[in-house]
């Protein structure tokens, strides 16, 4: 699927999912359009990680519909995953490989074989220092790892980007850099879904914010005007959700 195509790239419709007797998702519905950044905001145990697992095809819903770029992540796992770039909370890369080697290896596994200059270009786009490109990942900070992961996502040119707690552990400068990168990806047409409990980061980056509580969206806010979100209002909603959760 091309990055410039429009339409709903991520669809969750009335999704119910349980782990044994524990009901985690209870009728979750949301959609993310191409070029849109959607922040799924929720406290601990709200169902954020389970939502991410379901989108990646690692958790099977009891009922409801999940579509990623038009594919069911369970029944069509290969096709769905081929359309997803995923940046986990702790970016997992190979420490025995350099940044360049990591990108080349993970992209090759995904069936992509970019030219070396394309990898360099992606690293430049993420702002990763040139001196780090040929260093092994062992000493990389979380921000640097995220830049490598985003570079890989850029090179994969997939229509869906999933971010799991992307700002956790990042300093404000690194957070701002990261947000800029995510914006770049979305501007290229990707649908971005991030799960987070960082309200400020969500307000800074998202086009829409969904408040997740006990496995379903209880409220939603869309960015409007230059100020985008009324942070106080968001905070009020989030606090209420956190109290009731």
């Amino acid at each position: 699927m091309s990055l410039t195509a429009t339409g709903q790239r991520i669809i969750l419709s009335d999704v119910h999912l349980s782990y044994g007797s524990q009901r985690v998702l209870r009728g979750l519905s949301l959609h993310v359009d191409a070029g849109e950044i959607y922040a799924l905001l929720g406290g601990n145990g709200a169902g954020k990680s389970t939502t991410m697992s379901a989108l990646l095809g690692f958790a099977r819903p009891d009922s409801g519909t999940i579509l990623v770029a038009g594919h069911d992540p369970i029944a069509q796992a290969d096709k769905a995953r081929d359309q997803i770039a995923y940046v986990p909370e702790n970016v997992a890369l190979y420490e025995h490989l350099t940044a360049r080697e990591n990108a080349a290896y993970l992209l090759a596994l995904a069936g992509r074989h970019p030219a070396p200059q394309d990898i360099d270009g992606a690293f430049e786009a993420t702002g990763l220092q040139t001196s780090a490109w040929d260093k092994r990942m062992g000493g990389f900070s979380k921000g640097m790892r995220q830049k490598v992961a985003i570079a890989i996502a850029l090179l994969r040119a997939v229509p869906v980007l999933l971010l799991d707690e992307p700002s956790s552990g990042l300093d404000p400068r690194a957070t701002a850099d990261f947000n800029r990168l995510v914006h770049d990806v979305a501007r290229r047409g990707a649908a971005v879904l991030m799960v987070t409990h960082d309200l400020l980061s969500a307000a800074d980056i998202a086009d829409r914010i969904g408040f997740l509580e006990s496995g379903r969206i209880i409220d939603e806010a869309a960015a409007q005007g230059a100020d985008r979100f009324d942070v106080r209002d968001l905070h009020r909603k989030f606090a209420r959700e956190a109290v009731t959760a």
Binding site: S53, L56, F58, A59, D78, R81, D82, I84, Y86, P88, N90, A92, L93, Y94, E95, H96, L97, Y105, L106, A108, L109, A110, G111
Partner: protein, 480 residues
């Protein structure tokens, strides 16, 4: 390049970049090479020594002066078992069974009932041979190199990352397996070089060598799969290492030691003392040739006299003492053969029970295959004993017959001053006794004997390969 090859290449790259891995691999390679060279040199030395002593024993036997034939029966002869070529790779039971025997009349070799062959438990200790390195040390190296192959991916979160890239868990397992199998093949290379060295020697048997290469290849492949399976099933690399070390200890060290003990307890052999007493009692029951009233030998005497149509021993055209020696040897040999057979029946039962443990220990299955193909197993030793006994019996009976045919009965009984000279026969007769020539097992025999072990190993391999399927399904979920 597909995902399997990519993953294998990356795993090998990781090993190459890990100094400990490289050192461990280099050490094992050196160890295998050293084992091959040491073993080759050791076995060549033994073979040369045995050949020299065999020639010396033969020379001493044929160089004996004119003597009474029965003196030669007691002078006896030493024989030595030549080593099969593959003993340089796997000496098997050779070091514990002994390979030289003193052959004489009235008794079988003492080794036949020796404590050293009470059971096969004494033959299972490791020596530094290529077989030992591949059977015991190589799996340990594979454990250390591969325990984290999958567990590490899970532990560090790259497993999920990899699956999200569209890589299937099956491809991941196969890629890791391919990498470890390549390492296993490299580990086996020095041993293969030793094989080529042996293959270049006259008398090398291609069939058993091919079975051995196949068997060791299957064994190392099996360990590669076991390592990957455990690594995929266990959440943390450390746990995978502990589980694999425990498995290695049980399968490679413990069971091969315990199995012969259990076999020895289940099928007990009498002690040498018990056997000696039983034999003496049976010999006593057979009769006494010197007792004129002994019913057996009285009947024998009557039979001989009837046969020659004479009334007195002195009138026989042959030396009665010689005939008596022939008959006595026939009787005692039958008795000794009977005890030897009983002993070997028990030992074979012990071996069978030990071999049955190959169902739960691939190391035992491989040892069975390796020793059988090399011709250094208990059966190889039994073959030597059987041929030695056949030779001893023929030699002693030929000498006894010489006594009957060439020494006069009256001279044999005489005790005058010149009697000793008259009892002697020409030393030329010693030349007519053939030298001992050991006939080694044929290619067909060795291959056939090694097939059960190979079958067990291949069954293990097939089972392990099948186990990859459900493990891949578990891994695919990658909840961690």
């Amino acid at each position: 390049m597909n995902a399997i090859t990519l993953i294998a290449r990356d795993e090998l790259r990781l090993m190459r970049r890990n100094r400990v891995t490289v050192i461990a691999f280099a050490l094992l390679t050196l160890l295998t090479l050293a084992a091959a060279l040491i073993s080759w040199s050791h076995q060549s030395g033994i073979a040369e020594t045995r050949a020299r002593f065999q020639a010396q024993a033969a020379q001493e036997f044929t160089a004996q002066p004119d003597r009474h034939p029965h003196r030669m029966v007691h002078f006896g002869n030493f024989i030595f078992r030549p080593l099969p070529l593959l003993a340089a790779f796997d000496p098997g039971v050779d070091a514990f069974t002994g390979n030289s025997m003193f052959l004489e009349g009235h008794r079988q070799n003492s080794a036949n009932f020796g404590d050293v062959r009470q059971s096969s438990l004494l033959v299972r200790f490791g020596q530094l041979t290529p077989a030992f390195v591949l059977q015991v040390i190589a799996p340990l190296l594979l454990v250390f190199l591969g325990y984290g192959a999958v567990a590490r991916e899970r532990e560090r979160g790259t497993l999920r990352q990899m699956l999200v890239q569209g890589v299937s868990a099956r491809a991941l397992l196969l890629g890791k397996l391919l990498a470890l199998a390549i390492v296993a093949a490299l580990v086996g290379l020095p041993a293969l070089a030793a094989f080529l060295l042996i293959a270049g020697q006259p008398g090398a048997l291609a069939g058993p060598m091919a079975v051995m290469v196949l068997g060791y290849g299957a064994y190392l492949a099996l360990w590669s799969i076991i390592v990957i399976l455990v690594s995929a099933l266990v959440r943390r690399g450390r746990d995978a290492l502990l589980a694999l070390l425990a498995l290695w200890t049980v399968l490679v060290i413990l069971l091969p030691r315990v199995a012969p003990d259990i076999a020895a307890q289940t099928h007990m052999l009498p002690t040498r003392l018990e056997t000696d007493i039983a034999i003496q009692q049976d010999l006593h029951r057979l009769g006494d040739a010197h007792n004129p009233d002994d019913p057996f030998f009285t009947a024998f005497r009557q039979k001989v006299l009837r046969h020659y149509g004479v009334d007195r021993i002195e009138d026989l055209p042959v030396n009665y003492n010689g005939l008596l020696a022939v008959e006595g040897e026939k009787l005692t040999s039958r008795l000794f053969d009977d005890y030897a057979k009983r002993s070997f029946t028990v030992q074979q039962a012990q071996s069978r029970l030990t071999d049955d443990f190959g169902i739960i220990s691939p190391a035992i299955a491989l040892r069975r295959l390796s020793m059988a193909a090399a011709g250094t197993d208990l059966e190889g030793h039994r073959r030597f004993l059987a041929q030695a006994e056949a030779y001893r019996y023929a030699m002693v009976q030929q000498l006894n017959q010489l006594q009957a045919d060439t020494v006069r009965y009256a001279d044999d009984k005489a005790k005058d001053a010149g009697a000793d000279q008259r009892k002697r026969i020409s030393a030329d007769h010693w030349q007519t006794i053939p030298q001992f020539r050991f006939k080694p097992a044929t290619t067909g025999d060795l291959v056939e004997a090694s097939l059960p072990g190979l079958g067990l190993l291949l069954a293990w391999l097939a089972f392990a390969l099948l186990a990859l399927l459900p493990v891949a399904r578990i891994l695919q979920k990658a909840r961690a």
